[in-house]
Symmetry: C2
Subunit: 256 residues, 2 copies
């Protein structure tokens, strides 16, 4: 219960938000209770599930600064079993505000511990950096899910990310394990995708999910309607691949 999964990669644009939103919504549609926390000041996960950020009064920022409890910043979404803690651009200030806090890496962990409701999964969408917001997510997490685009620059940063994860495991969060590595935006028409995928599978073998997410324009259209892919176009290749990924994720977690 209340398994916390951080979706992280400091490389930008690799599909962190797309994976957070679609995994959370598919797992919720399968009947599991999911809390999605948007830890990125850009707030893409919030708008990806249809949250009107302009109407947002309270967000994860208020829980991290201690002004409010987590329970007070949880919002319903249009999707059964899926609740959201949104973020706004205020969150960008939290990185500097947290620096002087002695327990600056543990703020999110203690915020989540105080919540009163139970969930099957708490999912954390991380920003593209290894700053304090992502560190907080990795300290609060039981596991970390690493989406990686099948492109060269994304491959280059993977080693550094895994090194950071093992440092966090060693010094700040001994329970932290790797949920897995998810290959995203795979374009079967290019050699590059195949080469990068082969390289990742060769190095990381069983850590790499069997499901590979293809590049599919429906996945990038859905956020402009504020809908996860299963709601926007359930027959698209994007929806089918995230449904398959959610099934694999649940199976690896002993559920199905």
């Amino acid at each position: 219960r209340n398994k916390v999964v951080a979706i992280a990669n400091q490389k930008g644009g690799v599909g962190k938000t797309t994976t957070s939103v679609n995994l959370a919504s598919c797992v919720a549609a399968a009947g599991y209770k999911v809390l999605l926390i948007d830890m990125d000041p850009q707030g893409n996960a919030s708008s990806g599930v249809g949250f009107e950020r302009d109407l947002c009064e309270v967000s994860i920022y208020h829980a991290l600064t201690g002004e409010m409890e987590l329970d007070d910043v949880v919002y319903a979404t249009d999707y059964d079993n899926l609740l959201l803690v949104p973020s706004t651009t205020d969150l960008a200030g939290a990185e500097i505000e947290l620096v002087d806090d002695e327990r600056r890496e543990f703020v999110l962990e203690s915020v989540i511990k105080k919540k009163s409701r139970d969930f099957d999964f708490v999912m954390l969408d991380c920003p593209p950096s290894l700053g304090l917001l992502t560190i907080n997510a990795l300290v609060a997490a039981d596991t970390v899910l690493v989406p990686i685009q099948t492109e060269y620059y994304a491959l280059e940063g993977l080693g550094h990310l895994l090194h950071t994860i093992s440092l966090i495991h060693e010094h700040l969060n001994p329970k932290l394990a790797l949920e897995g590595i998810l290959l995203t935006m795979y374009d079967a028409r290019t050699n590059l995708s195949e080469q990068v995928a082969d390289e990742v599978i060769e190095h990381f073998e069983a850590l790499v999910f069997d499901t590979v997410i293809p590049r599919n324009v429906k996945l990038s259209e859905a956020p402009s309607f504020g809908q996860p892919i299963c709601a926007y176009d359930k027959n698209s290749r994007g929806a089918k691949s995230y449904a398959a990924f959610a099934a694999e994720f649940l199976k690896r977690n002993g559920l199905a």
Copy 2:
């Protein structure tokens, strides 16, 4: 002379590095002296011009912390007129280390001022965040060039970025102006690209460069060979579009 251009956008994966590397190399190939400074701890711009990061002894990190002068961390590249100040993962520590410095936003500006060599352009590749590294780049810059992917999430963040730029202009760097907005990864086969492009052009009109960079796999293959696109495949659509962009950039700067 020594015009400083920051290439910035907090949204991840929009083509900041691809634009920095290819604009710098095309402008250098046209005979102008360019210094490319990699302000991203990921170091993608460094490897994008063929720099072996494992061999890197000194980098922008050492100049920002005051251990060395900028002159001491400038390296040659394989390309005429193009010099590089590389970055390594050490740079991620600089964000926290700079926080206690009273002049923490002005460190890069004073580092660049002390250099002894003259260039026509100094280009700064920024990380995907609005943290201290990007703030330093925006304070040191004369202009900021904003690449934006023709996708919904990238569009969502544009307003916040332009707001941050005007705050920097007001409080920290009154000379800061917008170099322009560059549409990238345009996929003519999808409605989404056209819709996002139309929306950006409608809102920002003359600020948007006429050149639009198409999605072209050669652009994502080139970095794995450590080459800018003009060196990797000069007849590709990617190379032709960045050559056209460089020509437009030079024309807007009164050069040609």
